[in-house]
Amino acid sequence: MTSLLTDHLLSSLIAVPFLGIVAILLVRRQAWARWCALASTLVTFGLALWLWAGFDPATPGMQFVERAEWTPTINSQYAVGVDGISLVMVLLTALLAPLCVLASWSSIERRVKAFMSLVLLVEGSMMVVFTAMDLFLFFMLWEVTMIPMYFMIILWGGPDRIRAGIKFVIYSLTGSLLLLVGIIGLYLEANRSFDLQAIIATGIPSDAQNWIFAALFLGFAIKLPMIPFHSWLPDAHSEAPTAGSVILAGVLLKMGGYGFLRICLPALPEGSATFAPVILWLSIAGIVYGGCLALAQSDLKKLVAYSSISHMGFVTLGIFVFNGQGIQGAVMQMFAHGASTGAMFLAVGLLYDRTHSRMISDYGGLHSSMPRFVVLLSVFAIASFGLPGTGNFVGEFLVLVGTSYVSMLKVLLAMGGIVLAAAYMLWMLQRVALGQPRTPGGALLPDLGAREMLTLAPLVIVVFGVGLFPGVLTEVLELTVNGLVEQALAGMAGSPPS
């Protein structure tokens, strides 16, 4: 057993959530389903930590690689492995999943078994997406993540859930269709191979790089989302149940950024270089525009949703400046944003469970009735606008340092986005936590219980841990990112002058 685990740690990590689903199907009572889900997410988290401990930051390239024949007809393999970037994403996914289960513990009352299975399904498939070294595998599981999200939204969502769900699916389908086109393009150009390393080694001809990049870019940009492809996000985030919002904002969006890093930069360096100026400006626009939109919101969940658009702008900004600091910053920002925005959605969810209202104007003066909640909400709010000492600050600062090699003006504009973030978060805090209750029941709301504290407290540690000791993540990222940057820059330099 030990050798099975150690030899196939990564596959075990991927398998546990799926085995959890089977376990949930076998048990009869709903309470057991919850415990099954919690147990398998915790085991996954434990395995992810194990993976982290076993990961050797001094070795470049993929580690824990496992390969097996899968569909020989199209020359596709089951091939998984982790490098620094994958590892960070796997850790984030594994961290958020148990919290999602805890957050749905009592707020999901109907169809508990199905809900928990969906959470596990989405967790398992994201694990594959973040570790796949085969593009066909990557694409298939990318598609699979969409299905549970759709059902979560339309079955357990808010009042406008059907519209939001359909919008989500149509957007996602369009995106993945383009992604499929891009992937098939890569497949055809690289002598009919889905193996990413082989594709990178073959090198895609310059004339094909641009159109393939365009297709992949649209696929990833919709998922991320970059403006102007973002309009599915506010609806989906605000209508989804708490766990759904956490998964969406915390991990699902990061698949876009991860895709850029995993596929676009190494395999299509020239395409990346061609499109980079446009993407950088779109990122800046997204940072400022998302911030402005968040400022205009009167709905708590929508506010957090729009703030995600703003923060994901930093991710693409960091990726497309093509240097180590920018890219490490982008990965850091993805991790920190996953933790802090996930926490914001969890916190808003706890509030929603009590009052079934998401409107800011229904709250006020929570500091007296829910002091613990207000402390945690404040912590996550200030983390989310990147106060020094939190992981978000490290991410944003690294991205800005990376951007400074490209353009100081962009640095300044992106910083404007941080001010907007401080503005909408503190204004929200002022209206929700300070002052006097605006509804008669507002003063009577119960403070957080033990389980709810357990849901939020780990993220406080993560947010500050990464902020004060970013070395734990930058250490594993350093070699991977340096290799990636070298690959991308070499690819760009090798391009014939046009």
Binding site: L4, H8, S11, A15, F18, L19, I21, V22, L25, A68, W70, K113, S117, L118, L121, L155, Y171, I227, P228, H230, S231, Y289, L293, L295, A296, Q297, N323, G324, Q325, G365, H367, S368, P371, S378, I382, L387, P388, G389, F393, F397, L398, L400, V401, S404, M408, L409, V411, L412, M415, G416, I418, L426, L429, Q430, L434, G435, Q436, L468, G471, T474
Partner: protein
């Protein structure tokens, strides 16, 4: 491990203990805070002694970031400058802690109060000792959030929440400059270590940066960025609006953060980066102008305020403006001296005010109703002293630094601004004291010394020491001590002791007192009943030159309106509708295709095909299906039925079960592949 590491660490540990230590501490929370801060005060004094003997100490702590060429080491660098400020920070913090332990009794958030105060003391001490610009920036922001948390301490008050948000946001705007400066410094020098930057500074002289189509000297731009941060944190015009509002905080907080320590961070940063400043003469002029405007503006507005805390706030603005002005003319030593004197003094004044306010709590915030012979003597001496430190500026011919830039009449401006500020300070200080303590209110409101007044003793002692030491020529000692900490420093031919030039500012101060006394003895008519410019000026100043309204009209409301317009009109109407429109277009396109293409072409083709198909399928059915496949199918059917029955045991056939089955199959498929690999 150096023991001086404990100077910031003790308050931090105290704050953590209070935050996590649970409710058991309750009413005894202050003990943890007082103990921690007392410890760091003791160590600060020890550090002062050691630095005086052996020179600067540097203590590495840990490596925060190591990404490519960017390395950030958290470390402490205790030089002459830091070691002078540390006793101010920890000492005032200690006095304020002791004071608050009485003042805040009965507060429902007693524990939180001391936790945040501890965190603030940590951040400020760390800022003073920081050896890295990024760490400085981080502490800068942490202080900002502590200030936010303490201003909104009485969270039930709507005004407190608004003031806190306003304070943080104004600072956030200003800190964009500072943060930009940090990034730009790294881009220029390739390091963020302060000593390294300062030693490399001259090598970058003349290097320019193309920005927004302009070619700007890099050093000048960096200094302007640092100034932007200082303008926010130290409440300089035009970012000063938050400080008067910050007076919503409990009075001990005003004493510690908004008078004695945090607001001094701006001048401190400028002095810390002094060698860089000296390389950027253009930026120094901007610094001096902003400082001068703030000094005069604060003093003028102070003349019209009737709320004692707001009066003190504007006085703080003015005094810090003067320090910034001093930095701008290159008088760094004078700025630090003024900073220390003002810090101790203002903290002490606020505590006295808090006492007085507490004693007359029933009479609201207005400052016109307090009497107290004991307080009067204290406050008079203190306020009179508020005018003295600026005199130091006139001990050296600092106006020459300006004149060296070939600005005509720079010397005149220097003297005019300096003397006018001293005059106005004397005027409002005297007026404030007289109206506060010499008014004609009934004797029943006399302030009695309370137990918390014991906190005055250290404050009083400090004041006494300062007075004595100043008169005894502390300034020359002081500048000798600080000298090595200030590379660059004043021009070489500056006599550092007392000079006859001091007669001018002293005369200005005496004139201010005299004028105030004259107006007090023979009160003129109320300004509002006067005519012409006097009334206009009074109304303008009473409304603080309408800065709040200007900010609201030019920045806050336009941004909010823009945001709402962007959301409603651009995002929902345009982008979202475009998506829906696209969907509608696709749907109608599909319908059109169905109507035209299908009926015309596709529907007819099947008819042709169908007849052929029917006959061939008839043959297929008869030969293959009935004989071979049917049997196999029947077997599969039976199996399916059995599976169905099995599934029915699990639960009723709802949507969930369909889902579950799909999931099950997926899991099984992937599980199978997984096992195959093994």
């Amino acid at each position: 491990m150096s023991p001086y590491l404990l100077i910031p660490a003790l308050p931090l540990l105290g704050a953590l203990a209070l935050a996590l230590g649970g409710r058991r501490l309750g009413e005894r929370s202050h003990r943890v805070g007082i103990l921690a801060v007392a410890g760091s005060f003791g160590l600060s004094v020890a550090a002062l002694v050691e630095v005086a003997r052996h020179g600067p100490i540097s203590i590495p702590v840990y490596r925060l970031l190591d990404v490519g060429s960017l390395t950030v080491d958290v470390g402490l660098y205790v030089d002459q400058l830091a070691v002078l400020l540390l006793p101010l920070v920890t000492g005032v913090s200690f006095v304020v802690h002791v004071y608050s332990s009485r003042y805040m009794i009965g507060d429902p958030r007693y524990r939180r109060f001391f936790a945040v105060m501890g965190l603030f003391t940590f951040a400020m001490a760390m800022l003073v000792m920081s050896s890295n610009l990024l760490v400085t920036y981080m502490c800068w922001e942490v202080m900002g959030i502590c200030s936010y948390l303490l201003i909104s301490h009485w969270a039930g008050r709507l005004a407190a929440g608004r003031a806190a948000t306003k304070a943080f946001l104004v600072n956030a705007v200003a800190d964009v400059g500072l943060g930009f400066g940090v990034v730009l410094t790294f881009a220029t020098y390739g390091t963020l270590d302060i000593q390294e930057i300062l030693s490399k500074a001259s090598s970058m002289d003349g290097q320019t940066l193309g920005f927004l189509g302009l070619e700007i000297q890099r050093n000048t731009l960096i200094v302007l960025c640092l100034l932007s941060g200082a303008i926010g944190k130290s409440a300089q015009v035009p970012m000063h609006v938050w400080l008067p509002f910050a007076m919503e905080a409990p009075t001990p907080v005003s004493a510690l953060i908004h008078a004695a320590t945090m607001v001094n961070a701006g001048p401190f940063l400028l002095v810390r980066m002094a060698p860089l400043l000296l390389l950027a003469p253009a930026a120094m002029i901007v610094i001096a102008v902003i400082g001068a405007i703030t000094a005069l503006y604060g003093a003028l507005v102070s003349l019209t305020q009737s709320d004692i805390k707001k009066l003190l706030a504007y006085s703080t603005i003015s005094q810090i403006g003067f320090m910034v002005f001093a930095c701008g003319v290159g008088a760094f030593g004078a700025a630090v001296f003024h900073l220390l004197a003002h810090g101790f003094l203002k903290g002490f004044l606020f505590l006295s005010t808090g006492d007085a306010l507490a004693a007359t709590a029933a009479h609201g915030h207005g400052g016109r109703s307090v009497r107290g012979a004991r307080l009067r003597s204290l406050a008079l001496g203190a306020l009179a002293l508020a005018c003295v430190p600026p005199l130091v500026l006139f001990t050296g011919p600092y106006e020459r630094v300006w004149s060296a830039q070939q600005i005509p009449s720079a010397g005149v401006a220097f003297w005019a601004v300096g003397l006018a500020t001293v005059f106005l300070t004397a005027l409002y200080a005297f007026r404030g004291v007289v109206t506060l303590f010499g008014g004609s209110v009934g004797r029943s409101l006399r302030v009695r010394p309370r137990l918390s007044s014991i906190a005055h003793v250290p404050g009083l002692a400090v004041v006494a020491i300062l007075v004595a030491a100043f008169l005894g020529g502390l300034w020359s000692l002081f500048s000798d001590f600080l000298g090595p900490g200030l590379p660059g420093g004043p021009p070489a031919d500056v006599p550092s002791g007392l000079t006859p030039r001091l007669a001018w500012p002293l005369a200005a101060a005496v004139a201010g007192w005299g004028f105030a006394y004259y107006r007090h003895v023979r009160p003129a008519s109320v300004p509002l009943t006067q005519r012409g410019w006097a009334k206009t000026a009074y109304v303008l100043l009473l409304n603080k030159l309408y800065f709040d309204e200007i900010h609201s009209a030019l920045a806050v409301r336009p941004i909010l309106r823009l945001s709402r317009w962007l959301w409603r009109d651009l995002d929902l109407r345009l982008i979202d509708r475009a998506v829906h429109g696209l969907a509608t277009f696709v749907t109608s396109g599909a319908q059109w295709l169905a109507r035209t293409a299908e009926t015309a072409l596709i529907e007819r083709a099947p008819h042709v095909l169908a007849s052929g198909l029917v006959s061939s399928s008839g043959w297929l059915w008869r030969t293959i299906d009935q004989r071979g496949t049917d049997e196999a199918l029947e077997r599969v059917g039976r199996l399916a039925d059995e599976t169905g029955e099995m599934l029915q045991v699990i639960g009723p056939r709802t949507l969930r079960d369909h889902l579950v089955i799909v999931v099950c199959w997926l899991a099984l498929g992937i599980g199978l592949t997984y096992w195959l690999i093994i």
